[in-house]
């Protein structure tokens, strides 16, 4: 199975400024995504997490600074080449009414196809592998809109896995799922990451999920990266108070090891948590 992922690519941002029209989301931001590791981005609503993923995946042109993929300016690379190496599952994905799981997963093969080669043996093998990895083989011929929320999200994951990129960016993949489906999906990502060495970056809301699954955590606040490192080093009561405005106790997770956060009560509402619109435009 490990042959499905090509050699690791490195992804980094060098002093980028991210903005939508006149609204600057983050300035002078630099980050190195560690190859082959599971990185989780956390931060309050509106802090620029999704925008960072969009910038890292070439969807948003940075105002200044450069995003490098394999040492090359991502905006100077062909879109289809980038897509072959870097996959993104955005929150805004739409399933056309009536599309089957198989047809959805199939569309993830676009970067590897051409005008003449529209369904090669490699395409077929990759789709079958992605469906098997997400345990969606049985449901392959079912319409996506008839599935449960957890199954539907797995169908989307199958699509992005069929892309066979060595880097996987996931924007809040577990939002709107019940806790059992959240855990099973995170287990899947962790397994793909450890089995295949696929560099994985996920935006998550649950800090304890981040603590448990991440090799590295990136903490964002007000468009800046305030901490980046292994959970034990990053998740301190001081940081949680500063970024999320919660008073918390950090204990050792008695079951899985690593830090576990127990919130005491809310101390204050930081500006970015106040009821504003979501961070995406």
């Amino acid at each position: 199975m490990s042959q499905s992922v090509p050699e690791p690519s490195s992804l980094r941002a060098d002093r980028i400024t991210m903005a939508y029209q006149d609204r600057i989301i983050g300035e002078d931001l630099s980050v190195d995504i560690a190859d082959g590791r599971f990185t989780v981005i956390i931060g309050p609503n509106g802090c620029g997490k999704s925008t960072l993923l969009r910038s890292l995946s070439r969807l948003l042109r940075t105002r200044s600074g450069t995003v490098y993929l394999d040492g090359k300016d991502i905006h100077r690379s062909r879109a289809q080449d980038v897509a072959g190496r870097l996959g993104l599952l955005p929150q805004t994905a739409i399933a056309p009414p009536g599309i089957t799981v198989f047809d959805l997963a199939r569309r993830g093969r676009y970067p590897h196809q051409s005008i003449l080669s529209r369904w090669s043996a490699q395409d077929e093998a990759a789709v079958h592998r992605a469906l098997a990895q997400t345990e969606m083989t049985e449901l392959a011929d079912r319409p996506v809109d008839e599935l449960s929320g957890g199954q539907r999200q797995r169908a989307w994951v199958a699509m992005v896995l069929a892309q066979e990129s060595s880097i996987l960016l996931l924007d809040e993949p577990t939002t709107f799922l019940d806790v059992a489906h959240q855990i099973s999906l995170l287990d899947l990502f962790a397994q793909l990451n450890s089995d295949e060495g696929r560099t994985t970056v996920a935006v998550l809301h649950d800090i304890n999920h981040a603590a448990r699954y991440a090799d590295d955590i990136i903490v964002m606040s007000h468009g800046r990266i305030v901490a980046h490192g292994p959970p034990v080093d990053v998740l301190t009561p001081e940081l949680l108070a500063e970024v999320f405005g919660v008073e918390a106790v950090v204990i050792d997770d008695p079951v899985n090891g690593g830090p576990h956060i127990i919130t005491r009560h809310r101390t204050r509402i930081p500006a970015s948590v106040a009821p504003t619109r979501e961070e995406a435009p």
Binding site: G87, L88, P90, Y110, L116, W119, E124
Partner: protein, 352 residues
């Protein structure tokens, strides 16, 4: 070594070292049946008229093996019109599918959102102000279509990707263009006005290969090019802007190319036959349902469009004994009914 043709998940796969593709079995069957129905309608159209012929006589005439009088009726008079109905129908179907994909709205057809009205007003302006040769009318329809496209894009800017604003702006613009067209016809000389008025209904009466042959050839070439070059990109656009971009197909570029191609397709047909309404609206939707496909479906739209226009033109020729109606009258009558059912259903779904 996998076989050349294979089946899985309800689809047929074609695979050679250089070329490979996949189409759902149901879509394939639907398209073959539509093409068969189109061929049958065309054969019927070639057989019937002031003088009737048997299928055998028609086929003999087509292969150049019939008496001169049969050949005159079948090949010289009836064939150009029948071929025009099939090709223009396919062109309109694909154009409609392109616009509906870009606007994400079943009402986002060139008939509704003003591209057809723009091409039509451009054509009428060309006829009344310059002349009625194919090149002049073609230039008029293309310029009219492009101007309206630019105007609609400008006015619906900032309306997001939902396309609803685009539809509304287009309906308003359409209404204004109809009045411009009326004014042009009213102020023109009587004989010119008659040509323009007849043209602006949309008709295949008097179609010949010398006058419309270029449009038919261009139409077929454009349809094939759009299907080959754009269909995969359009299926990604169906998944949302971000995902399309993340998979390597810049959504803005897909959208721009699709709109330009759609305007060109509409202009080709409109220049040759006038604005034939509602085929572009109905064909993509009917085709997709028959083929059981999700999202954009260009090939079924082309097959359905060809069948709809071939059938409409047959009805236009034979509905009233001794009188040939312009095909536009038939498509408007049938399409109006279709539009009502569409609006009622979409309204129930809460999309509008």
């Amino acid at each position: 070594m996998s076989p050349l043709l294979s089946r899985d998940h309800g689809a047929v796969t074609l695979r050679t070292p250089a070329v490979s593709g996949r189409m759902s079995t149901r879509a394939l069957v639907a398209c073959v049946l539509l093409l068969a129905a189109t061929a049958a309608t065309t054969l019927l159209a070639l057989m019937t008229g002031k003088v009737g012929y048997s299928p055998g006589e028609v086929l003999a005439a087509l292969v150049g093996d019939a008496p001169a009088d049969v050949e005159l009726f079948v090949v010289r008079w009836r064939l150009p019109r029948a071929v025009a109905a099939v090709t223009f129908g396919a062109v309109l179907g694909v154009a409609g599918a392109l616009f509906q994909c870009v606007t994400r709205n079943p009402l986002g057809s060139p008939d509704i959102i003003g591209f057809s009205a723009g091409a039509s007003a451009g054509g009428v302006a060309a006829v009344t102000l310059i002349g009625s040769s194919f090149a002049v009318v073609a230039a008029g329809t293309l310029i009219g279509g492009l101007l309206v496209a630019a105007l609609i894009m400008l006015l619906s800017r900032g309306g997001g990707t939902g396309g609803f604003r685009l539809v509304i702006v287009g309906i308003g613009l359409s209404a204004m263009l109809v009045s411009v067209e009326s004014w042009l016809v009213l102020t023109a000389d009587l004989d010119v006005a008659q040509v323009a008025a007849l043209w602006s209904v949309g008709t295949l009466n008097g179609t010949s290969f010398t006058h419309s042959g270029i449009a038919m050839a261009l139409g077929i070439a454009a349809v094939v090019a759009v299907i080959v070059l754009l269909s995969r990109r359009l299926t990604l656009l169906d998944l949302g802007e971000d995902l399309s971009g993340a998979l390597g197909a810049d959504p803005l570029r897909t959208r721009t190319v699709a709109v330009l191609a759609g305007v060109l397709l509409i202009a080709i047909v409109t220049a040759a036959a006038g604005p034939i309404a509602f085929v572009a609206l109905a064909a993509p939707h009917i085709g997709r349902r028959l083929a059981g496909m999700a999202g954009v479906a260009l090939v079924p739209a082309a097959c359905t469009g060809a069948f709809l226009l071939a059938l409409s033109d047959f009805v236009a020729q034979h509905a009233l004994p001794g009188r040939m109606l312009p095909v536009g009258v038939v498509t408007v009558a049938v399409g109006g009914l279709y539009l009502i059912t569409l609006i009622v259903r979409e309204n129930r779904k809460g999309v509008l």
